[in-house]
Symmetry: C2
Subunit: 471 residues, 2 copies
């Protein structure tokens, strides 16, 4: 069993980790030794998540134990770090998804979708994208949209169409639909101020600097790049990451026959539907009645447990959920600590000095791109926003960028940069763990889509906001 380990995968993380550690004396003066050490461990851990000598859960556990042994973390901090609201919401949403499958409701919805839009795979992708966009108006949790709603439907749909990672047939249909959903969700997160909780945090931070942005201003600025992306991305993915099954001429007849064969809804299906609708409603109105998105996911799971749609064994069998819980929590605690140790604040200050004296368009472009690509370092929206947004915004303002334009474009960058890594946020964590998209494919496709996003949102965004008179 010792031979199962891909020892070579340890090489790069070790080189980077030890290398960065050794140059500690040469670090920037503003950075404490501890912050630099954590930076070295963090970089090594992230690289190991790419080279994968062991699965992500194992490499992140190694990373955090090294960080604890070297005194960067106390064990109490580590334990507390596992009490991460996002990670638990991801887990709960996966349990809900299991309820979709087990009750049979997922099958039914899948058949329904195929009977309506299933003639061509691309039209199916557009239909699913449309659903996510509509949901994004009122569900500011990207986790809730992807993990709680869209993924269970897509997963069922794919399996029903004979595309299943467990049988090696994921590329037939599922890989394309899953990765498309991932990128589409990043677009819908940027399309509306209410599409992502982080958007509101960013706009809140902007307000502290005296810049007010309304829901409508956001939407006006975002609608052209957003809708363009929604049209372009599924088509691009269809070309660069094509599903094997493209035409399904018999799909309509097949799906309606299946629907008929399913007959009436069972009790489990009905309970699952009601729970699902309740969850959507609560996600929509939750903030108004004081129920947050994580709480909604807990409520849904508890209803499924009480009614027996799910058993605790079903929960325990959802290995993906427990897996994500561990590695996502660890990456998040490391990133958060890098912020509290002053690493990221130092970074935005240093960047400000470097950009001193440039014209504002260049500064905005550099800041946008830096903000976008720095997300490779961040496993969550909120951590990056709290670490960098205010600093970046003040640099932009200082360089003369029109205020609302600066606030909006940087906020946009903070939504679409979720398109980078398999740990970029909850949805990425879940979708990248399902087996539909391999690790290698994820990194490659993300890189391509990232460039397109930057052209559309930064380039197109600047042109469009010029037409709108933002500058």
């Amino acid at each position: 069993m010792l031979s199962e380990i891909k020892w070579k995968g340890f090489l790069l993380p070790l080189i980077f980790g030890i290398g960065l550690w050794l140059v500690t004396p040469l670090r920037p003066v503003a950075i404490s030794i501890m912050a630099w050490h954590l930076f070295a461990i963090f970089v090594a851990t992230i690289i190991a998540c790419i080279t994968k000598p062991l699965p992500m859960m194992a490499v992140t556990l190694i990373g955090i134990v090294v960080a604890t042994l070297t005194g960067v973390f106390t064990m109490d901090e580590v334990a507390t770090g596992f009490g991460n609201s996002t990670a638990w919401m991801v887990a709960m949403c996966m349990f809900m998804a299991a309820g979709f499958i087990k009750s049979g409701l997922g099958k039914r919805i899948a058949y329904l979708f195929v009977s309506l839009f299933g003639k061509r795979t691309l039209s199916l992708a557009y239909a699913l994208s449309f659903v996510d966009a509509v949901l994004a108006i009122g569900i500011p949790s990207n986790n809730a949209r992807v993990n709680g709603i869209m993924y269970p439907i897509i997963d069922n749909l794919s399996r029903e169409m004979g595309s299943d990672p467990k049988q090696g047939t994921q590329r037939k249909l599922g890989s394309f639909l899953v990765f498309n959903e991932y990128e589409v969700n990043n677009i819908t997160s940027g399309l509306f101020l209410t599409g992502l909780a982080g958007n509101m945090v960013a706009i809140g931070l902007a307000k502290m600097q005296g810049i007010t942005v309304t829901w409508m201003q956001w939407f006006m600025a975002a609608c052209v790049p957003g809708i363009l992306s929604l049209l372009i991305i599924p088509w691009v993915l269809y070309k660069v990451y094509p599903p094997e099954v493209k035409q399904t001429p018999d799909a309509h007849r097949w799906a309606t026959t299946r629907l008929a064969a399913l007959g009436k809804m069972t009790a489990s299906e009905k309970i699952m539907s009601i729970t699902f609708i309740l969850a959507i409603v609560l996600w929509l109105i939750g903030t108004k009645i004081g129920i947050d998105a994580t709480e909604v996911s807990f409520i849904a799971v508890v209803i499924l447990l009480i009614t027996g749609v799910l058993t605790t064994n079903d929960l325990l069998n959802e290995h993906f959920a427990w897996n994500i819980l561990v590695w996502l929590s660890i990456i998040m605690m490391m990133s958060k600590k890098l912020m509290t140790l002053g690493f990221f604040p130092w970074f935005s200050k240093t960047l400000g000095h470097l950009l001193n004296g440039m014209n504002w368009i260049s500064v905005l472009i550099i800041l946008f791109l830096a903000y976008f690509y720095l997300h490779y370092m961040f496993p969550s929206v909120s951590t990056q926003i709290s670490a960098l947004y205010a600093g970046f915004l003040s640099i932009a303002i200082g360089a003369g960028v029109p205020h609302v334009l600066a606030a909006l474009l940087l906020a946009f960058a903070g939504s679409i940069n979720l398109s980078t890594t398999p740990y970029s946020a909850g949805p990425a964590a879940l979708l990248s763990s399902t087996g539909y998209v391999t690790s290698a494919e994820w990194w490659r496709l993300s890189a391509i889509i990232g460039v397109i996003f930057n052209v559309i949102w930064l380039g197109g965004g600047l042109l469009w906001t010029k037409l709108l008179g933002f500058w």
Copy 2:
């Protein structure tokens, strides 16, 4: 699937929960409405853990969701509550135990033990008790002793002797050995000041009231009740909860043949042994070099992952571990919150008023028994100690109990009261989840042993400390 739920099991928790909730207006004046509501939810949850309409993970999840919906907990508090150091240590120890089994080392140690002490089941139990007592001198984590060391050995030994909960043969040998280990560990926790971290917390609290207790004073007072218990409890359990296999005359020959057949140690076994010894050493000296018990368990698991003795899949397959992680965290967060809301402090104050004017021996006896049986409300040593120890001690001192005697006896009560519930602390959580001992047996046997413990430690303890001249 809806019919799988034992609906009747919801009856009692609902009656108690709703009943207590309804009498909120009649609650003691010093208790806030919120504290009383939590008390109602907590009692209902604990009762549901006994009547078990659903497994403990499900009922505790229901409990915490109710507590969140009624505004007793915020969702952030709940998420943070899952970052519980004890619960994660229990999980890591279970992973380590899986390494014992998978590597084959457990088998080897089991054969060794049987070949040395295996003629009679009772002698095996005494031998195992002796090992735990020796470890307790230097390992103040009862979790580490039971979950990390003793349980893996006992589990392997039982299975090797043909006693396995998965096959319904647990009563042959395993049930007896597992429950014996549980009770013996409670004794060894009380035997030495260093046998339980909580002991040191208690003595620390006593010091704040000006009462100094040394390691030797503790041991002198504890040795007679402790050693008596170590002799009596295995024998009592052997009578009231007898193993089906009592004599194993051929065991020695069988075990040595098996040992010979195993041949040389494999690489995995060697790594497992080294990791195990390292863990014991770190548990022994950890406090001196700043590595706490939970950290040791993480280190051990990471070594097993790096060397491939365990894979992440092995970890994910340990359903018990994930299960415990959830329900233990929830019960602990509820109990802790009851303390911060002032429920337990109110209780000890009220008790003080009631005992006013009684002679000190009666007061000490009442306090001891109250402290012991109140542990039915507490899922951890530290929560009860921080909630009640100082208050109880001051009541005792106020009633005229000799200082050191009061400090010691209450501290003893705080170790042996771990013998009450399947959620009394980490070891109970693990052992009660293994399938060796049913829920019903657990509650029944605990009740019996509890009475014996009180006779030995309170009655015998008072007599013995009189002889020693403590009063």
